[in-house]
């Protein structure tokens, strides 16, 4: 007869695992991935694959040679995910060496020194993007136009919808906004001259990913809905007050808002642990995004808004507690 095994209860476990969640998010990104290949062709393939490879390799090397840990964590899917999300934030004509530096910041500075998955304070992909933006402002703010399938470094660049909006605010002239594609086009990603980062093009693809993640119970609705809702309301109020501010539909469909709200702000490690806390977090991000977009130096505010709120997550976790059973006994 075999042995008897003992442990304390529970003696059963659900089917969930870290891998299931990480790879689930990666699957949710597939529609956006396909859209970016379609619009940016070779450039997007190079940038995304470089970003993923660099992140995975760095994590492997650091875990094996610096931390000297026996078990390597690259198979849990989080490094691949960071690579993808970092890549989606970059222009498709970014040289390889800059992408690798971005990966160094993301994995080597923002993730591994804190203790690896679960211990980082800031979203690694966003730290990578922010570092690149500051270090290589020229390369990071020239965006290739869509439709140039075969080109990579030699792609033709143009103005993004966000920069158009910024111009409108600066000049106070609402007619500048007529240059923007219609909301439906923005939603479907139908930009004939569409420009922007690879993950920002098609809101529909991102929303499909959102639906998938909700169905698989990977994330809950709280953060994306509160971010997008807050941006919509705040931008709407501004637009009503002064038409040189873009209409709220355009605002939520342009730039990194959808990508950030659905995939970056919902990062497990850097977001709050309670539904109430998550809503507070989401509202603050939405508010900050609109503020930075409209009155900050950069046309895009999502990344910085999320990074700022990442710093507040521990505070939110400390003070916002879930409703305890029996707290209000009837």
């Amino acid at each position: 007869m075999g042995k008897l095994i003992v442990s304390l209860s529970p003696h059963a476990h659900g089917t969930d695992s870290v891998e299931r969640n990480m790879y689930g998010v990666i699957i949710a990104l597939v529609p956006a991935l396909l859209v970016s290949f379609f619009y940016f062709g070779l450039g997007s393939v190079v940038v995304l694959s470089t970003s993923v490879a660099a992140c995975v390799l760095l994590e492997w090397a650091i875990t094996r040679y610096v931390l000297k840990e026996k078990r390597n964590t690259i198979m849990d899917g989080s490094a691949i995910l960071t690579g993808l999300l970092l890549g989606f934030n970059l222009p498709s004509n970014l040289p390889i060496w800059i992408i690798v530096i971005g990966a160094v910041f993301a994995i080597g500075f923002a993730k591994m020194p804190f203790g690896g998955l679960g211990n980082n304070l800031f979203n690694p992909a966003l730290v990578g993007r922010a570092a690149l933006l500051v270090a290589f402002p020229a390369q990071m703010t020239t965006w290739p136009k869509a439709g140039q399938i075969g080109s990579y470094l030699d792609a033709e660049t143009g103005a993004t919808p966000l920069s158009v909006m910024k111009e409108a605010i600066k000049s106070g002239d609402a007619s500048v906004l007529d240059q923007l594609p219609s909301s439906l086009d923005l939603f479907l990603g139908n930009h004939p001259d569409g420009v922007g980062a690879m993950g920002e093009i098609c809101a529909l693809a991102l929303l499909l990913g959102f639906a998938f993640m909700l169905w698989r119970k990977i994330i809950t609705w709280h953060i994306p809905v509160s971010v997008i809702g807050t941006v919509f309301v705040f931008a709407g109020l501004l637009h009503l007050a002064d038409p040189s501010y873009a209409d709220p539909f355009s605002v939520i469909l342009t730039g990194g808002l959808m990508l950030g709200a659905i995939f970056m702000a919902t990062d497990y490690v850097t977001s709050p642990m309670t539904p109430k806390g998550q809503i507070i977090y989401g509202v603050a991000i939405g508010f900050l995004t609109v503020v930075i977009r409209n009155w900050g130096a950069y046309p895009e505010g999502m990344s910085f808004a999320i990074l700022i709120m990442n710093a507040f997550t521990p505070l939110i976790n400390n003070y916002v507690k879930p409703k305890r059973f029996g707290e209000v006994a009837k």
Binding site: M1, G2, K3, L4, I5, V6, S7, L8, S9, P10, H11, A12, H13, G14, D16, S17, V18, R20, N21, D76, S78, G115, G116, L117, G118, N119, T220, Y268, V269, P272, M273, T274, K321, P322, K323, R324, F325, G326, E327, V328, A329, K330
Partner: protein, 455 residues
Amino acid sequence: MKIKTFRIGGIHPEENKLTHEVATKVAPLPKQAIFPLSQHIGAPASPVVQKGDKVKVGTKIADAGAFVSAPIYSSVSGTVFKIDTAVDATGYRKPAIIINVEGDEWEESIDRSDKLETLKAHPELTPEEIISRVKEAGVTGMGGAGFPTFIKLTPPPTAKAECVIINAVECEPYITADYRLMMEHADEVIVGLELLMKAAKVTRGYIGIETNKPAAIDLLTKKCAEAFASSDYTVEVVPLKQRYPQGGEKQLVDAVINRQVPAPPAIPVNVGAIVQNVGTAYAVYEAVMKSKPLFERYTTVTGKRLQNPGNFLVRMGTPMKDLIDVCGGMPEGDNKLLAGGPMMGKALTSTEVPVCKGTNSVTIISDDEARRKEPQPCIRCAKCVGACPMGLEPYLLAKLSEVKNWERAEHEDITSCIECGSCQFTCPAHRPLLDNIRQGKTTVMGIIRNRNVKK
């Protein structure tokens, strides 16, 4: 109509009710019966027999050791072999009475007929008389906890009982003992409920059943309508959404009467509810109406690799090995032997452990399911927070217990934890959350006890 359920948290483990439709069989008598003196919450019972004494089925062999305690009755007839130590469900050797079984002679006082005795036919039964018979018969909670029933029926002066809720939920996977009891002895269970209501001096009763037992819901609804048609008592059968831990008494009270019991030391009677397991209700019927003390119970013996899993009417004191052999023997390879279900059961190191008052199931988990996966670092996904039915933050409580920060753990309400295991079941990183929280909870409760003693 929306099906009732509890408000916070909860999970959906696989049902695995393998023995749902297996009719109850009477388990064979053991050759030697082992009666640990501590089968209930409270002080251990003290023996009233010695080596060599002859006993019958239903003879009292141990008296209650204190107020919070219960007497123990022999479930077999034979000779007392010795009063020694034996390994019980705690995993440790504890004092026990061991009896060599000879024949099957019952005490004459026990009414062994099948006749249904109703409360209507016995108007002379006062609440005090009912409670006294329940106490004398050694009836304790049959859902696993083992709290002496007579104490639950006499609430403290600060609390007033408004209703009795029968816990027929059986939310743990695998276990079907309560379901079979309801299907086979519904009438007796209903009389038991009536007795409980009379003893607690209330007129409202509820029977909570999960929706995965539709036959039981229908049967009991029909029988309750008949039994209480022209009665002072109102009894409602409440179907409950299938969710773990619906069977936890706090969750049951929340779902059935929409009231949440506050944090410990509050108990359900503080919001007016007295909760009793359906097996306890049956035991109350037998004790009061048939003068039959508690010495046998319905137990499920189950497991995916067991050849013939089934439900049994078991005499207490039967070693689990006997039951497992009837079901085809222990499966090959490494197994986990559990007293109870997979969520809250106790893993045992020996098959000689006897069936006791709270053993509602013997579950055998095999192969991969018997082992835990290697834990990974916490990924802060907050799924444990969503699963916790008490609104706690398991990741935080586990971490605080690990670093021994007892002050903060107490502040974060670690004593409210009901140890249901939903958090550990959900955790994608396979972290041993409940192992840590349990340690913290035990330590913090000790600190609070010392603090109160000093005052």
